[in-house]
C-alpha cells in the first residue's frame, strides 16, 4: 500500500514544536534532581522561544498540515496573549504552595501543555484539531485547579470543573458530529461549502449543531447561563492558575469562536446572531449582579469575568473586522487588568491570614502603596474608567457594536458597567478609605483563601519582586495603553484584517 507523507511546513508549526519540546524537557527536569529547581526557568525559556517563533510569522498567514491549522495574525495575537499570561503565571507561581504540592516540573509541564492547547486552538481550522486542542487546553487545567491538594476547595473546584467541563465538551462534540454529518467535512471551509451545496441553509440539523457548538464555546468563555463553574473554580483554584485561566482560556476560546463562526458558519449569521446577542446580554446582567457584595476577591473577579465575557461576546456577535479587532484589543487589555489584580491578591494571600477576602486589602493604600496602586488601577480599568486600557477597550467594542447595528448591546454594556462600579469601587474603597484590618493570627480565617490548613504567613510577601514586579508591570501597561492605545490598536486591527481580508 502506498503512503504519501503529508507535506509539513516545519517553520509554520515550529511554535507548537517548541512548546512540545519544552514540555518534555521540563517534565524530565522533574526527574533529575540537579534540575529540580530549574523548571520555572525552563518554562520561561520555552514560552519565550514560542513567542519569538510566533512573532516571526507575524503578518504572513499560512495554512498548515493539510488544513488542520491556519497560522494568521488572529491566531498569533491570541497565542501571544496566552503566552504572556502563562509567563505571568509562572512568575507568580514562585513559592506557591501548589507548585510544591504538584511538583514544580509536573506543574509547569501541565501549564505548558495547556498553553500548547491554546496555541493550537487559536489556529484550528478543522473540527478534529479544534476538539483535540480544546481538550488539551482543558484537561491540564482540570488538574492544575486541583493541585493544591491539601485544600478541599482546590479539589472541589477541580472536580466541578472536570464534570461540568466534560458535559460541555460532550455537547460540543455532539454538535460537531451533526455539522460533520450535514456537510460531510470536518474542515471549517468544507463545512461552509457543504452547507451551501446540500442546500442546508437554516436546516434544523445544522442549527442544532451550531447551538451545541455555541454551548461548548460559551462554556469555555464562561458566558451565562453556562457560567456557573466560573466563580467556584476561580475561587478554589490556586490563585496563579486562576489568573491564567481567567485570561488565557477566554482568549483561546474566543479565537476559535471567531474563526469557527466566521469561516464555517458565517452563512448562518441571521440564525445565530440574535441568539448570541441575547446570551451576551444575559451574561452581562448575571455577571454584574452576581459580583455584588462578594467578599472573596477571586470569586468577585470570577463573576466579573462572566460579565466581561458578555462584553467581549459582542465582538463576536457583530462578526466584523472591527468587531474582531475590538475583541482582541479587549482581551489584551483584560489580560493586563486581571493579572495586575491577581498578582496583588496573591501577595495579600501570602502575607495576611485573610486569604483572598476583601478584608485582606483594607488600608492597603497606606500600608503597601506599591500593591495598592496596581490593584486600584486594575479595578478602575475593569470598571472601564477613562485613562485606562479598559476604557479604550469598551469604546472600541461599543463602536463595533454600533457599526454592526447592535447599539442596544452597547447600551447593555454601559448599564453593566454602572452596576460593576458598585463592586470594583468597593475594593478601591477598602484600600484607600478604610483602616487596615487587624486580625490576630489564628483568628477564624476567611473563605476558601485560608482554609483550616492555611499556609504559613509570609509577612514580606508584599515586597517580593516576583509579586510586586508583575503587579506594577501590568498596571503600567494598563495605564500606558489607556493613554497611548495606538500601538495596541494596530496590533488588534491586524487580527481583524486576518479574518476579514
Amino acid at each position: 500500500m502506498n503512503f504519501h507523507e503529508p507535506s509539513i511546513d516545519y517553520a509554520g508549526i515550529s511554535p507548537l514544536i517548541a512548546l512540545t519540546v519544552g514540555l518534555c524537557v521540563v517534565l524530565l527536569s522533574a526527574v533529575f534532581n540537579p534540575f529540580k529547581r530549574s523548571a520555572p526557568l525552563l518554562t520561561m525559556i520555552t514560552l519565550a522561544a514560542a513567542a519569538g517563533l510566533l512573532i516571526w510569522h507575524w503578518d504572513d498567514p499560512k495554512t498548515l498540515i493539510t488544513g488542520a491549522l491556519r497560522l494568521d495574525d488572529l491566531a498569533i495575537s491570541i497565542s501571544l496573549i496566552a503566552i504572556l499570561t502563562a509567563a505571568f503565571c509562572v512568575v507568580l507561581s514562585i513559592r506557591e504552595k501548589a507548585t510544591e504540592e504538584a511538583g514544580s516540573g509536573e506543574y509547569h509541564a501541565l501549564l505548558l501543555g495547556s498553553v500548547l492547547g491554546m496555541v493550537m486552538l487559536a489556529q484550528a481550522t478543522n473540527l478534529i484539531t479544534f476538539f483535540v486542542a480544546l481538550e488539551m487546553l482543558s484537561i491540564p487545567l482540570y488538574i492544575l485547579c486541583a493541585t493544591n491538594l491539601r485544600r478541599e476547595g482546590s479539589l472541589e473546584s477541580g472536580l466541578k470543573y472536570l464534570i461540568v467541563g466534560s458535559v460541555g465538551s460532550a455537547t460540543l462534540l455532539y454538535g460537531m458530529a451533526f455539522l460533520y454529518g450535514g456537510t460531510g467535512s470536518t474542515n471549517f471551509g468544507g463545512i461552509a461549502d457543504g452547507i451551501a451545496q446540500n442546500g442546508l441553509d437554516g436546516d434544523p440539523l445544522i442549527l442544532i449543531g451550531i447551538a451545541m457548538a455555541a454551548v461548548g464555546l460559551a462554556f469555555k468563555t464562561s458566558i451565562a447561563p453556562f457560567h456557573q463553574w466560573t466563580p467556584d473554580v476561580y475561587q478554589g483554584a490556586p490563585t496563579p492558575i486562576t489568573g491564567f485561566m481567567a485570561v488565557a482560556t477566554k482568549a483561546a476560546a474566543f479565537a476559535v469562536f471567531l474563526r469557527f463562526f466566521d469561516v464555517a458558519l458565517g452563512s448562518q449569521l441571521d440564525a445565530w446572531q440574535p441568539a448570541l446577542a441575547a446570551l451576551a446580554a444575559i451574561s452581562i446582567v448575571v455577571g454584574n449582579v452576581g459580583a455584588l457584595g462578594q467578599d472573596s476577591l477571586k470569586r468577585m473577579l470570577g463573576y466579573s469575568g462572566v460579565a466581561q465575557a458578555g462584553y467581549m461576546l459582542g465582538g463576536v456577535v457583530v462578526l466584523s473586522s472591527s468587531g474582531t479587532s475590538a475583541l482582541v484589543f479587549y482581551l489584551a487589555a483584560y489580560a493586563f487588568m486581571n493579572l495586575g489584580a491577581f498578582a496583588v491578591i496573591i501577595a495579600r494571600e501570602r502575607e495576611t491570614i485573610f486569604g483572598d477576602d476583601i478584608r485582606a486589602v483594607r488600608g492597603l493604600g497606606a500600608e503597601r502603596p506599591w500593591l495598592a496602586w496596581p490593584l486600584t488601577i486594575s479595578m478602575l480599568a475593569l470598571a472601564g474608567l477613562p485613562a485606562t486600557a479598559g476604557f479604550i477597550g469598551k469604546l472600541y467594542l461599543i463602536e463595533a457594536l454600533v457599526e454592526g447595528d447592535y447599539t442596544w448591546l452597547g447600551v447593555m454594556i454601559a448599564i453593566g458597567t454602572m452596576i460593576s462600579l458598585a463592586y470594583y469601587l468597593r475594593v478601591v474603597a477598602a484600600m484607600w478609605m478604610s483602616p487596615e484590618e487587624k486580625g490576630a493570627p489564628g483568628a477564624t480565617p476567611a473563605i476558601a483563601g485560608a482554609s483550616p490548613e492555611a499556609d504559613p504567613v509570609d509577612p514580606e510577601a508584599g515586597r517580593r519582586w516576583y509579586l510586586v514586579g508583575p503587579a506594577v508591570l501590568a498596571a503600567a501597561a494598563t495605564v500606558f495603553f489607556g493613554i497611548i492605545p495606538q500601538p495596541l490598536v494596530e496590533f488588534a486591527s491586524h487580527a481583524g484584517t486576518a479574518l476579514f481580508g
Partner: protein
C-alpha cells in the same frame, strides 16, 4: 437480518446505558457500561467501521474499564442514598433528558438532508478498515493524532500528580 442485529444491539446499548444510571452500586454501573460498550461495538460493525469497533473493544472495554474496576475496588463503591438534596432536581432532570431527546430527534427527522433516509452510499471494500483509518490518521489528521498522544502523556502526568502521595512528605520539608 440487519434489522434484527440493529435492534438487538440497540437494546443492548440502551439497556446498558440505563443500567449505568440506574444501578445503586457503582460496581454494577461499570458492568452495565461494559455491556453498553460491546453493543456499541456491534453497531459500529453494522456501520462498516471495523477499526473503530475494534478500538472500542480494546481501549474501552479493555483498558479503561479495568482501570475503573480497580478504582472502585480501591475507594469502595458504597451505594448512594436515595435522598435528593437539590429541590426540583429529581423532577427536572428526566424532564430535561426527554426534552433533549425530543429536540435532537426533531432536528434529525425534520432535516432536509435526504441522505439520512438512506443506508448510505455504496462504499469500496476497504472502507473503515485499519489501513484506511491509519492512512487518514497519518496523512490528513496527523496533527490531531500527535496531539492526542501528547494529551495522553499529560493525562498520565496529571493522574500521577493527583493520585500519588509522594508529596505528603516533601510538602513539609520547606
Amino acid at each position: 437480518m440487519e434489522e434484527v442485529l440493529f435492534f438487538a444491539s440497540a437494546i443492548g446499548a440502551l439497556g446498558g446505558a440505563l443500567g449505568v444510571i440506574a444501578m445503586r452500586n457503582p460496581f454494577y454501573s461499570v458492568l452495565a457500561l461494559i455491556v453498553h460498550l460491546f453493543s456499541l461495538a456491534a453497531l459500529f460493525l453494522l456501520l462498516t467501521s471495523a477499526f473503530v469497533a475494534a478500538a472500542q473493544v480494546v481501549v474501552y472495554a479493555g483498558a479503561v474499564m479495568v482501570l475503573y474496576v480497580f478504582v472502585v475496588a480501591y475507594v469502595g463503591g458504597g451505594g448512594e442514598s436515595a435522598w435528593e438534596p437539590i429541590p426540583g432536581q429529581r423532577f427536572l432532570a428526566p424532564l430535561l433528558g426527554i426534552a433533549l431527546f425530543i429536540e435532537l430527534s426533531i432536528a434529525i427527522l425534520s432535516s432536509a438532508l435526504l441522505a439520512l433516509g438512506t443506508q448510505g452510499p455504496e462504499v469500496q471494500p476497504g472502507f473503515g478498515d485499519p489501513a484506511a483509518i491509519g492512512r487518514l490518521l497519518l496523512e490528513k489528521f496527523l496533527l490531531p493524532f500527535e496531539a492526542s498522544s501528547i494529551l495522553l502523556l499529560l493525562a498520565a502526568v496529571g493522574a500521577i500528580v493527583l493520585a500519588s502521595n509522594r508529596r505528603e512528605g516533601e510538602a513539609h520539608e520547606h
